[in-house]
Subunit: 322 residues, 2 copies
DNA sequence: CAATTTTTGTCAATGTTTTGTATAGTTTTG
DNA sequence: CAAAACTATACAAAACATTGACAAAAATTG
């Protein structure tokens, strides 16, 4: 189910007939006699159907050819129709449709997380991608990142240390996530005066995912983000800041291998960009560098909420200056 | 939504008609009746269209031939139109882009390339992304990759050596391209028995883009691809091949820094996966390793056409074995 | 079980709407 | 000036809607 049932997509009766397999005349008859579907109309009176209507008619068609009379099933809900058709094709009693009852989004996220982890464990990128896509639609980008992706990545890290997973599991997961960045980002046009930010990872830091997620979070907070990927020396990051006229730069530091390199790069960056541009740092390893962070004047992200708060403050500050 | 006072407006209706495949009269009718596009005008009243308008009309044309009525879809956003056409092309056999002759397409690709390069030079990721998106709609993924992206990357490499561009230009471009991977890929469900492939980059090789493009090309040739990203040791690649039951692995080698590491990794990989799984290698630096490639039994990609040919042969071979 | 009624899919007749194309005369452009 | 665009109007084919009817199939009844 790549495409969600688009609210915007609408069909005329011919297309509906083709796709559902029910002749146009019959579609109209079912509507007239039993209100099996109730399409809206154009100003001229032509019927306009939705994807849901098509699905409905498809199911009705199957059910009737299975022996059900149309008058009995025409007004069933889509769910009931699905169950009806399914239970017949399998001749297995349908398990009562108990959805994870609490409609709590966090609960749903946790539920998806288990499914996703199972897909990772089974090394099944297609399944993983599909779970992700559904979860994004259902949860929205922010909750998806905060309550599904982050715990998932944490768990993958743990299980890798425990020897249950290999590095390749993490690589596979990362690349699936990266490929979904396009959907996660919200593509609404940004205001010309939206605050600008550069996101990258200092030299010698290879793990990209943290930076990518930070970039997406910033976009969702209505920043205009220039994402640069990994492993950039300070001069390059500084150049990008100058080019884009950015007011802030976010860096992700995910492991503490080369203490001195990170420290050196941070000092150089501060020198290059001057004191007025905010440097924000996040990532698992950021805490190890607390001393340098203080020295250079860097904000250390504690959580997503914290990050959002920092972004809001910075945006406000800029607005006041304008 | 479309262009109102767009500086990039530049095409007359005849050009638009040719490139979108919608007759001039019809373009005007769609505008008059449904405001499907709203071009600016010259002082004398002639309509002037943008690249985005062309993409829009092309999508509208495809959607109508898929059974949508123009009145219903004329005012959808570009994003919605893309989704509509994409979700349909998954189930309906889509006639390949026929409209402009192939030589015209190459000319158009070259034209887009110049615009994209200008956006890179100006360090304007938003403009770059927008050019890319329009070009993908108009050219289709294959031509886009082969005749726009590849020459663009080559030129960026040259200009970087010449000192006209900085590394950060290339990073920015790469990350824009990566974010578009999702659109470039072909999302139609693959047959269960589609041949499988793993794509990655050996340890010590950071440049990801070649591998990513190879992965996309393979997907477009109906392979089921598992993309793993960069910098993986041989055991991990071998593990992925085992997990996915892949018949081939494609590696991208983009520079010749550590001769012995690459050679060693290739030998180890061959040992780990046995003689029956094809190893395909591409990338700028592949030619430097010719000796090792021969020794280990590796196919070296010469061009996209060559890559496609190799893929076709491998797919056929597997089919015969089944 | 036969007769009767109801349900259901299909069709025909007739009028309207949608949509692509065509015509005619004018204006802009290079 | 010739080619190409513009506007306005018109037209016809395709697609839809409505109404009403009809016969086969299914259900009900006596």
């Amino acid at each position: 189910m790549t495409s969600t049932s688009d609210e915007s997509a609408q069909y005329l009766i011919k297309t509906v007939s083709k796709r559902s397999g029910v002749k146009s005349d019959l579609v109209r008859a079912w509507e007239r006699r039993y209100q099996a579907v109730t399409p809206t109309r154009t100003s001229g009176g032509h019927r306009i159907y939705t994807d849901q209507d098509i699905a409905r008619l498809k199911l009705l068609n199957q059910a009737t050819s299975n022996g059900h009379s149309i008058s009995q099933i025409a007004r069933l809900s889509l769910e009931d129709l699905k169950n009806l058709v399914k239970s017949e094709s399998e001749s297995i009693p349908q398990p009562p449709h108990i959805i994870p009852s609490s409609s709590d989004r966090l609960y749903i996220a946790a539920d998806y997380m288990e499914k996703c982890y199972a897909a990772v464990l089974a090394f099944d990128p297609k399944a993983l991608e599909s779970h992700f896509e559904n979860a994004i639609v259902e949860l929205g980008s922010e909750i998806f990142i905060e309550h599904l992706l982050t715990p998932l990545l944490t768990r993958i890290g743990e299980r890798w240390k425990a020897g249950e997973l290999r590095p390749v599991h993490e690589h596979m997961t990362s690349s699936v996530i990266r490929s979904l960045a396009y959907i996660l980002r919200n593509n609404k046009p940004r205001a010309e005066n939206a605050p600008r930010m550069v996101v990258s990872t200092p030299i010698d830091q290879l793990h990209e995912l943290g930076a990518l997620l930070a970039a997406i979070m910033a976009e969702l907070s209505d920043w205009q983000v220039t994402y640069l990927g990994t492993n950039l020396p300070a001069e390059e990051i500084a150049a990008a800041i100058k080019y884009t006229n950015a007011r802030a730069v976010t860096l992700s530091i995910s492991f503490a291998a080369n203490d001195h390199v990170v420290a050196k790069e941070l000092r150089r960056l501060r020198k290059l960009i001057g004191p007025d541009i905010a440097i924000i740092v996040g990532g698992r390893a950021a805490e190890y560098y607390q001393d340098i962070l203080n020295e250079v004047g860097v904000v250390n992200i504690q959580s997503y909420a914290h990050f959002r708060q920092i972004l809001a403050e910075l945006a406000l500050k800029q607005e006041n200056q304008n």
